[in-house]
């Protein structure tokens, strides 16, 4: 069965208001042609501000290569060239991006079910094609690993079907902005040290950024829609910006480094992990291979598959989490939740009203949950094989 048949149950977000591209072009002092087509707008000759994001990628590559058991390729990173910036104040630029980013968060689900299902079907197809002949010990595991290596999820396609991970959300946003002459980039985010599994690449998240120049001051507008943040965040060097996280009572604080190479994000650690604060690091460089690097591992192999609907301010209104490690399903509506064990009947929880909160068809959602539960042992075997060095 192909996932392509999933209908988009929510309307696609409206395109960015045309004034943004217009302002980008008219406010530029560049002699280059209007920037409505790729390649992206060139730098203003009068711009003297220091460029952002020219850091070497060697540090990241060294850490990547140090992981002997990698099941992902090297990150492909490209510096943001100094000239790729909107000539505007950060506030004005954010004001023009706001309806787009808020609309994306409100109208599109955060959904990794789509990738886990696709991986499960991909593995199943490989197992079936191998036939039922007796195999040597370990051969079945090797077959799973080989099948995983040929798995190629497409986050952007999933986004157009109504829900995706951070990669799908941000790739589409970047594409829409670029089509209107706005230099937007997909940038990678490193999770806090010590929080990733051996099979996970160094980057665990992506966001979109639009560089701007306001007089001699350079900055970034950060769009973190894959983290349920609908508000564009205006970042100037060494000036922390705190963003509330929906109705959680928690907030994240972003700070663009003085050298413009990174953005740190200080966020509360889970209380179950001792509380306190942890820091993620956004690299101000374009990530060119996000799907094979992130979607294939963080989304498809994540031991907690997630589907959630959000409001524009990032409040999660409904969610389903399939926890493959604890063999449980967790459903939330507002501030309330119900938990089931794998194998329990989901029909009393996944009612038509609950499915509508998630913008999903009730029968389709029930069917997907059953399929995810049925695939759990295969997926767990694959995770164990990869973590054990079979990759």
């Amino acid at each position: 069965m192909k996932i392509d048949s999933r209908p988009a149950t929510k309307p696609s977000p409206q395109p960015l208001v045309p004034q943004l591209a217009q302002e980008t072009v008219t406010s530029s002092t560049s002699q280059e042609p209007p920037a409505q087509d790729l390649p992206l707008p060139k730098a203003s000759a009068s711009t003297q501000a220091a460029p952002l994001g020219l850091a070497s990628t060697r540090g990241v590559e060294a850490r990547t290569l140090a992981v002997a058991d990698r099941c992902w390729p090297l990150p492909q990173l490209s510096p943001l060239l100094a000239g790729m910036a909107v000539q505007s104040s950060g506030a004005a630029l954010a004001g023009r991006l706001r309806s787009t980013t808020r609309g994306d968060v409100e109208n599109q689900r955060y959904d990794t079910f789509v990738f886990v299902l696709e991986l499960a079907r991909h593995l199943q197809a490989h197992v079936q094609s191998a036939g039922a002949a007796p195999v040597a010990p370990g051969a079945a595991t090797q077959r799973l690993v080989a099948a995983f290596r040929s798995f190629a999820p497409d986050a952007l396609r999933a986004w157009h079907q109504g829900g995706s991970n951070c990669v799908g959300h941000c790739l589409d946003l970047v594409a829409r902005l670029r089509s209107q002459g706005v230099p937007a980039f997909l940038v990678p985010v490193e999770h806090p040290p010590g929080t990733r599994r051996s099979i996970e690449p160094p980057f665990g998240h992506v966001a979109a950024v639009v560089p701007f120049v306001d007089g001699g001051q350079r900055g970034l507008v950060l769009c973190d829609t894959g983290a349920n943040i609908g508000e564009p965040v205006v970042l100037l060097p060494s000036q922390p910006v705190t963003v509330p996280l929906g109705n959680t009572g928690r907030s994240w604080t972003y700070t663009l480094a003085a050298d413009g190479q990174t953005v740190s994000c200080a966020r509360p650690k889970p209380l179950s992990a001792g509380g306190g604060t942890e820091t993620t690091t956004l690299h101000v460089q374009e990530l060119l291979n996000a799907d094979v690097l992130l979607t294939r591992t963080y989304a498809s192999l994540n031991p907690r598959a997630t589907l959630c609907a959000r409001t524009a301010d990032g409040t999660v209104t409904a969610s389903v989490v399939v926890d493959f490690e604890r063999q449980r399903l967790r459903f939330s509506a507002g501030q309330h939740k119900v938990q089931l064990r794998f194998g329990d009947d989901v029909e009393a929880v996944v009612t038509p009203a609950f499915a509508r909160l998630l913008g999903r068809d009730v029968f389709e959602l029930r069917s997907e949950l059953k399929e995810l539960v049925a695939a759990s042992s295969t997926l767990n075997n694959l995770r164990l094989a990869l973590e054990g060095g079979a990759a």
Binding site: G204, N228, P270, G314, R330, H336, L357
Partner: protein
């Protein structure tokens, strides 16, 4: 004189179900309904 035709009002859109309706349905079905804790809610926004 014929009266001008009154335009037919558009069909009302199906309203978004309220969270309360969903939760009440869970309770009515005898399910154990608990409060979401802060960690769980925040974990849904970790990208």
């Amino acid at each position: 004189m014929t009266k001008p035709k009154t335009p037919t009002p558009p069909e009302p859109l199906e309203p978004e179900p309220a969270v309360d309706e969903v939760v009440q349905g869970w309770r009515d079905a005898g399910l154990k309904v608990e409060d979401v804790d802060d960690d769980e809610q925040a974990a849904l926004s970790r990208g």
